[in-house]
Subunit: 355 residues, 4 copies
Amino acid sequence: MSWNSFGRVLRFTTWGESHGPAIGAVVDGCPPGIALTEADIQPWLDKRRPGTSRFTTQRREPDEVRILSGVFDGCTTGTPISLMIENVDQRSKDYSEVAKAYRPGHADYAYDAKYGFRDHRGGGRSSARETASRVAAGAVARLVIPQVRVRAWVEAIGGDTIDPARFDAGEIDRNPFFCPDPEAARRWEALVDEARKAGSSLGAVIACEATGVPAGWGAPLYAKLDAELAAACMGINAVKGVEIGDGFAAASLSGEQNADPMRPGADGPEFLANHAGGIAGGIATGQPIRLRVAFKPTSSILTPVETITREGDATEIMTKGRHDPCVGIRGVPVVEAMVALVLADQALLHRAQCG
Amino acid sequence: MSWNSFGRVLRFTTWGESHGPAIGAVVDGCPPGIALTEADIQPWLDKRRPGTSRFTTQRREPDEVRILSGVFDGCTTGTPISLMIENVDQRSKDYSEVAKAYRPGHADYAYDAKYGFRDHRGGGRSSARETASRVAAGAVARLVIPQVRVRAWVEAIGGDTIDPARFDAGEIDRNPFFCPDPEAARRWEALVDEARKAGSSLGAVIACEATGVPAGWGAPLYAKLDAELAAACMGINAVKGVEIGDGFAAASLSGEQNADPMRPGADGPEFLANHAGGIAGGIATGQPIRLRVAFKPTSSILTPVETITREGDATEIMTKGRHDPCVGIRGVPVVEAMVALVLADQALLHRAQCG
Amino acid sequence: MSWNSFGRVLRFTTWGESHGPAIGAVVDGCPPGIALTEADIQPWLDKRRPGTSRFTTQRREPDEVRILSGVFDGCTTGTPISLMIENVDQRSKDYSEVAKAYRPGHADYAYDAKYGFRDHRGGGRSSARETASRVAAGAVARLVIPQVRVRAWVEAIGGDTIDPARFDAGEIDRNPFFCPDPEAARRWEALVDEARKAGSSLGAVIACEATGVPAGWGAPLYAKLDAELAAACMGINAVKGVEIGDGFAAASLSGEQNADPMRPGADGPEFLANHAGGIAGGIATGQPIRLRVAFKPTSSILTPVETITREGDATEIMTKGRHDPCVGIRGVPVVEAMVALVLADQALLHRAQCG
Amino acid sequence: MSWNSFGRVLRFTTWGESHGPAIGAVVDGCPPGIALTEADIQPWLDKRRPGTSRFTTQRREPDEVRILSGVFDGCTTGTPISLMIENVDQRSKDYSEVAKAYRPGHADYAYDAKYGFRDHRGGGRSSARETASRVAAGAVARLVIPQVRVRAWVEAIGGDTIDPARFDAGEIDRNPFFCPDPEAARRWEALVDEARKAGSSLGAVIACEATGVPAGWGAPLYAKLDAELAAACMGINAVKGVEIGDGFAAASLSGEQNADPMRPGADGPEFLANHAGGIAGGIATGQPIRLRVAFKPTSSILTPVETITREGDATEIMTKGRHDPCVGIRGVPVVEAMVALVLADQALLHRAQCG
């Protein structure tokens, strides 16, 4: 089954393939009266845009978004917002080999197994290019919940982790790695360059924090805030793990170590710790929402890998197209977008039931 | 918002509180003609049932399931299957303190913040007791996909991990920890006993494997198989992390190390590795589906923790009720149930679109 | 496919067969803090209850509802409300013939064609008995929108229509036909008695009005208020037609005749007519919502009708069970319930998007 | 709330306003491997296209559809199909008056009441122009169920009904009224011309028949085939009533008159009548599906009608734009599209559960 919509009340549907004429998203359920122009969306797309440094794919896409509906006199009308991004720099010739043999780690074989047929050009629908649609939709979501700030960064590349003591939010946008630790950023420059030159690739861990989320958002028991965030992030291309708060580390703690004690505060309760990542029972506690997402290394590498052809014969494949040496880096704006979309949806859901 | 249904085509809805008269699930969309009696469900409930060893809560619940609809002459009719489990051993007096003050790590404060009001008895709706409904529904899901085998086990308790070299599937049901490594099981006995006696608690990691899943199941892009599994597992009480395949470890690998090369096999492709956990592009590859789930330590501990009252005043709380020293242990049948429910849903979704 | 849930935000799921142990509904998404006890639901069930006059089926069901979850200290908690009604007076022996041959006009053949198998006792899932679950859920919906009054009545039986000039709302509950015209009620007594004694049956038209619905409710374009009402009513057993406002009569009018002119009023606009039935563009205008629903005559009659057996052989069938001579009469509380459920859902949807 | 998606498994989402740059639909869940080009869709859009005779609006729109995704090498890939139609002939100046005062019978007031704000140009989102998106989506749906033939026609205009004895399916496409009775077509020419010249408008009744629908399609109890058809048709602009089979006429029949007896036939049961319109218990019986839809007269008329301004002051309005004198005529391809979309969705739903 194809299921290209996400959200319960604020819903978006994406469409488009890597090498088709365009990609896009339809955002439905957005409240009316919110000021919105292309200029509110473009900066987030620019953040995700390929070709901005030598550490990302060299495909050149301006990724200019057009709003085709749902906005009048500069404001949302409450009707569906159709967003379209034209594909400009498709070089389908790069992908001729992909038509014949399956790239391990890619969705090629799985799509063929499912649909009996696939658009092989640049990965077709399974390409990370689709995440531009998410980023565009996410920009709308941010405007729905202006009280919330969603910010992600890269915490580790290829197993080399930042030093939390050197965390400086101001650094995140000053280097091509969305890295909050300037020393780590310098190390990663060498690391990613090496991988790029070797035709290899690296995995990454992204951390994300949302502040300003009021206690109460979350839709138990089967649209819990943490479950929705997990689905939203695990569904991003190349993601293999999601943690809320301490995540897997919590499994090694005792109940005493893991407690988040509370005290009376000036403005509601004050929490003395945030092991839970701001969510209890699937509902926001009012603390910062914290999560981490693991990206596998880009599957496209220049080393030949054993594989089979569509006909089932043995062969080798080496992925020659233009690719990110570390796909996790450009995952930063995508994680932010998905988290914003979940939170905006939960904000409206909460209002529906609890006024 | 309250959202108590899960699934797209095979959908289930659960209801009930820890100390109400009963809990239950309505399973809708189940194919007709499947042989089903209470005896098909009861063994899975027994596996989750409290009070079977000193390592779980001492609440005594027979957890006997009744099928109230959807079955005729011993077979499913294609109409909704209503499953009910009566609550027998509720001791509401244990929870009088909970009415007044918030237990850190529990959903108490979040529920009040959301609804302005909560059934505090035993955690009400947020109690892990609700997972019995999931296990009952999951037993039905297993029958929908008899070709699939879903099996989970405990991989680590309190940071003490099994030795993969000693993995023996036959051991899993021979000890109270669902532990496949008999030596680890012995160590955990001491470990959990110690925590229990100290009124403390421990976290755990559960691993789950589903074999027999054909290549092609999965509903990209927003109901991807891995995203659905992540939501299903992250929504289980006390879960803080989910990994598919190598999960976070993949973030430290290079593209060459992470590759899952393919070769022609007797019966479709043969994969030389399974870093991906059997899912590519959100679609099953035909390999075993592998995932890991992190459970935090039980929040109920006998050590007093700083907290606030409903009125916002400072106080301390110590949770005296009957609790699991390691809630992750009884998570095993719950993870299995959720994985079975996702897979059965995806099986029907795949059939809808791809015949 | 089986699809036993209705609603977008306030959702309910029903389960149960005519001759199973019980039937019920799970209402999810209800706002918290609403006073609710069985006594709020029972009067509506009593209104639908069979056996209250000689003009309805003689099956004796107390139809006592139990609330199994979602209510604490007399108030809704925001968690799912499970409602259960036990089946008491099942006489399955009446239905032995139904197991073998298909009753024309009933769902027997269609269910077998769909599922290959069916619970034939009393129509199983397709029995109008299921509508008791809707009435129970509808009673909850009414409490969600206390500003709205939903009231239905019978407008015609067997083609004999009330005189609008004699419409007296106070009469509706004073006769067994929910008839607002006392003269028509007298005529119907003879009419229905005659049909009953002859083992025949009659169709009916029900009218429904909802007042107090504010302008703005409705979810265009694919959950328009009129579309949702049409689905809700057309899905009631035996319904074959739904009209909003003037309905089919509007098709014979000119634009001038059909206009609903507006004037400034004391409290928003004053409408000079209501051909539209209070809905424009799928959104409530603030006028009374008006609709009409056509019920076919009960398919169960004592005249033998040509049919086929399950094996496909020719036979005749005569439905001997206990049936309503005019199933439309007991449709009144069911139409009311479905209209209340749609309106409550739309109220919450409106709040989600428009605050 | 805005809710612009329709369907359960085969889902489509529409977007766009009358005077925006374009309108469109995203069709998700379509099976893979179906041959599809713009040429499969265009003829249905041409059938709905305005300006083809003097009996429809004189707005000139080529309504050329572009497929932007979901098709590769001439076949559907199973991924979302994005369809776009550019708006070419917008004359926004015609609508200046609409910005200031509410047109009775239109959605103007209701949209403002809901959203506080609206795109008034040509009715914005509430314009019947949106139905072009439905027709495009419906063309895809037809290809999903090639065994089914869906055909609609106009049965009455302004109360003047065709003579069933003169029904000739071949006539439907030979006159500008989709009229199967050539004599009625001649009468309607005069009738509609008269209304057009007088600046008046007329209502219409459309009948629709779907043949080739196998017994078993339908998703009881809350996505019954008849309920879905009712929602699909009632949601079309200007529709005020829907009947399945005999519809309201059935309410005047006795059970004997309304029976659809069955006999053994060469190829499954043979039905001796079809009062039910091919649906029992919400499930197709294998007979032709028959329904009727009532369209009110176009609300835009040249006679001034009393109304109020946005500020609530009394005024009169006369709708000067380009409008259909009988909007029901162009409703024919829209009804067909919606019926095809419901049936295709039900086909896939049936396959999901029943294989």
